[in-house]
Amino acid sequence: MEKFGFALSKARVIDFDANDRSIVSYILEREPSLNLCIECGCCSAACTTGNFTGFSLREIHILLKRGENEQVRQKIRKCMLCGKCILVCPRGVNTRNVVFLAKQAFAKNEGYEF
């Protein structure tokens, strides 16, 4: 590689079909209200953790739906499960359970098939 002095840059595209959406299937099976999210961002605005870091539930939701699991895995542990998000969600998404289930799904390895 050195002899070229430059390297291939990784593709940024979300390859929907290549991505593994088993985590989100696992969650949706137990918490269908995740489907109701309209990405308004209210949860992120109210978030206690979001007060200290870039953690955003809205982002978590959409990343889960796209199967961008690695990102979710890194971010999700920041949540404090305080539950403010539930109180502000305009669509009644049980956000707390989504986080809880996501942690659980990661815990019992990602091999879960829906």
């Binding site: 206690t48 404090m80 305080c82 109180l87 969600c89 359970n97 019992k108």
Partner: protein, 638 residues
């Protein structure tokens, strides 16, 4: 005629009896062995200490008389009493009878149980007759209870219960055998009495009636067999059924009186508790998820059953408001919520106990404790820094969604003239309890440490919080040497010490006791006194221990928003039945949840007080510094 000493029909009974005795011993030994060292000591001390007498008393009152049930539901109580206490009497007096009237003393148990068979012509003399009368009386007592029990199965309304517990097949067999015991005894004794013209008002008359048109003597024998068989089956099946609670409960009472508590890990005590559940179903009636949200699968009794059978109970464990109403009502005094928390803490895929010997035993598996990653979850938090103050105000996450409470507290604290500081004014760190309720204690610890440092650094002597959730965890899981007060308690102090002047408002109000403040932390009186100080407090019929959960509880992770709303609607309907000026609560989460479900005004106690502050300057005084005992997490993991 000469009475014989033995007959083959007693064999089933004997087998059953000795089996159950041996089993009881073995199981007790196992349970004792699995106790932690300190608990072993506690138990020994308890057994040879004054706790012993206490235990006997409790066994008599609860296991036999069933006092708790009698209080809350007389008919149900009578049912349990007649069966338990009645049977106890029957055995007791049966043995005495056999001892006195048998031709020899110290008989094997079967002689007592089947006394009538072995000395059928007994009952001639007046003394004998009167004793027989006593025995008949006891039998009648039991049968009356049995009648109730049978009818309860078919219509639980009769004993005033809304739902009755669902049974597994083995339970059914055991139940039938239990039901058969006393009727078969009745028939057997009656027939024998009929044949010999003995027996008292029950067996005697029934016997005579039957003998008048039946070959009593020949018929009696099969019924003695039936009696013995049903006893035998019942004893043998007992360990597989909920009736195991009968012996287990005794063990439980001894352990509890010796000061053993559930703790936060599975162990003998929780095992004994689980097996002491008689599935009486009283927890089902008080559960709001049942009567307000139509969820009938997760109540305490089903949790216990699930654990006993080592079923998959993840959903049962998590789909619970953790309001503690079942802990309150349980006649056996099982610490239900701590047990639920234990199940939550255990990783879903790892089993701690496993049923063996077709369920006759449960062995503890020594599962390797999963290696926890030590990576901190909240390393993004800044270094905790707080300014010096005497009194700290920690609003809590939820309070930030109810600015009215924040405003009110600021008003009150300013009015008090104390040197106070608002530690989470621009958004703080969660207190950690929500994580605990989800079974993530390790993560919770991180937050606890952060907040603790914040509080230490301030050098304050008092910590006031508006959120009962925070209050509970501050008191129980934080290692603080400051006085932790919920704002209702704090306001009470201010009033007592004359630090605020309040006007009396012409208002009729009702008060909703938050679960975390009431049942969970035992704070009932202060809020009510504060309210009475500024308004007219009216009872709702759901006060103190009997208070309801608003439905918003963080204890439940799975509950859907509309079900929460349904619960809140029911609660507000009950609490505003007599149309008060406003419904007062002392928790931001309760306030938010209730307010969404009712048209009448819902207020936090602090708002009520702030509205009553008189402008006259309050006389300054230092708040007392008396510290409050700090409860450790181990003994109050819930």
């Amino acid at each position: 005629m000469k009475a014989m000493n033995f007959d083959p029909f007693v064999i089933p009974f004997n087998i059953g009896l000795y089996f159950i005795l041996i089993y009881a011993v073995v199981r007790s030994v196992i349970w004792f062995r699995e106790l932690s060292r300190p608990d072993k000591l506690r138990l020994q001390r308890g057994f040879f200490g004054k706790a012993f007498g206490q235990s006997l008393k409790e066994i008599f009152l609860e296991s036999l008389i069933h006092r708790k049930i009698l209080r809350s539901n007389p008919r149900l109580g009578y049912m349990h009493m007649s069966l338990a206490f009645g049977w106890f009497l029957l055995i007791l007096f049966g043995t005495i009878e056999a001892d006195i009237f048998g031709e020899r003393h110290l008989n094997p148990p079967y002689k007592a149980i089947f006394f009538k068979f072995f000395s059928p012509d007994h009952g001639k003399t007046f003394f004998e007759a009167s004793y027989a009368f006593l025995m008949d009386l006891i039998l009648a007592f039991i049968l009356s209870g049995l009648l109730l029990a049978v009818t309860k199965r078919f219509s639980s309304m009769v004993v005033g219960m809304k739902k009755t517990t669902k049974l597994k097949p083995l339970d059914k067999v055991a139940l039938t055998s239990l039901w058969l015991i006393f009727p078969s005894r009745l028939i057997a004794e009656s027939l024998t009495s009929g044949a010999y013209g003995t027996g008292s008002f029950l067996t005697g008359n029934l016997g005579a009636a039957l003998a008048s048109f039946l070959p009593a003597n020949e018929l009696a024998y099969p019924f003695w067999w039936l009696y013995s068989l049903s006893l035998g089956t019942f004893f043998v099946l007992l360990p597989l059924t909920r009736y195991l609670h009968i012996p287990t409960e005794l063990f439980l009472i001894f352990m509890r009186n010796s000061g053993i508590r559930t703790g936060d890990k599975p162990g003998s005590f929780s095992e004994v508790e689980v097996h002491s559940c008689s599935s009486c179903g009283m927890c089902i009636d008080v559960c709001q998820l049942g009567f307000s949200a139509g969820i009938h699968t997760i109540q305490a009794t089903y949790l216990m059953k699930g654990i006993r059978n080592s079923d998959y109970i993840h959903d049962i464990a998590y789909n619970c408001l953790m309001c503690g109403r079942c802990d309150q009502i349980c006649p056996v005094g099982i610490e239900i919520s701590p047990i639920r928390m234990i199940v939550r803490r255990i990783e879903e895929n790892e089993r701690v106990y496993e049923n063996s010997w077709n369920g006759y035993f449960r062995n503890r598996l020594n599962v390797p404790v999963p290696k926890q990653d030590n990576k901190p979850s909240y390393d993004f938090l800044p270094a905790p820094a707080s300014k010096k103050a005497d009194v700290l105000y920690f609003a809590g996450c939820m309070t930030h969604l109810t600015p009215s409470i924040k405003k009110a507290m600021v008003r009150i604290l300013d009015a008090s003239g104390l040197n106070w500081s608002f530690i989470d004014e621009d958004g703080g760190v969660c207190c950690g309890r929500p994580l605990m309720l989800a079974g993530n204690d390790k993560e919770a610890r991180e937050l606890i440490n952060f907040n603790s440092q914040l509080i230490w650094k301030s050098g304050a002597h008092t910590l006031v919080t508006s959120c009962p959730i925070c209050y509970k965890v501050f008191r129980e899981s934080y290692y603080l040497d400051v006085e932790v007060l919920h704002h209702s308690q704090f306001i009470k102090k201010l009033i007592d010490e004359g630090l605020v002047n309040l006007n009396f408002l012409q208002k009729r109000v009702t008060y909703h006791t938050p679960c975390e403040l009431g049942r969970r932390s035992g704070v009932y009186e202060e809020p009510k006194e504060v309210i009475r100080h500024v308004a007219t407090l009216e009872p709702t019929g759901y006060d103190d221990e009997n208070s309801l959960c608003c439905g918003g509880s963080l204890g439940n992770i799975m509950l859907s928003q509309e079900k929460r709303h349904g619960i809140a609607a029911d609660v507000t309907a009950k609490l505003t039945a007599n149309d008060p000026d406003s419904l007062i609560t002392a928790c931001p989460l309760c306030k938010k949840t209730l307010a969404q479900a009712t048209s009448s005004t819902v207020m936090d106690i602090s708002e009520l007080v702030a509205g009553a502050i008189a402008d006259a300057p309050a006389l300054k005084k230092n708040p007392s510094r008396n510290k409050q005992k700090v409860v450790r997490v181990s003994e109050a993991s819930l």
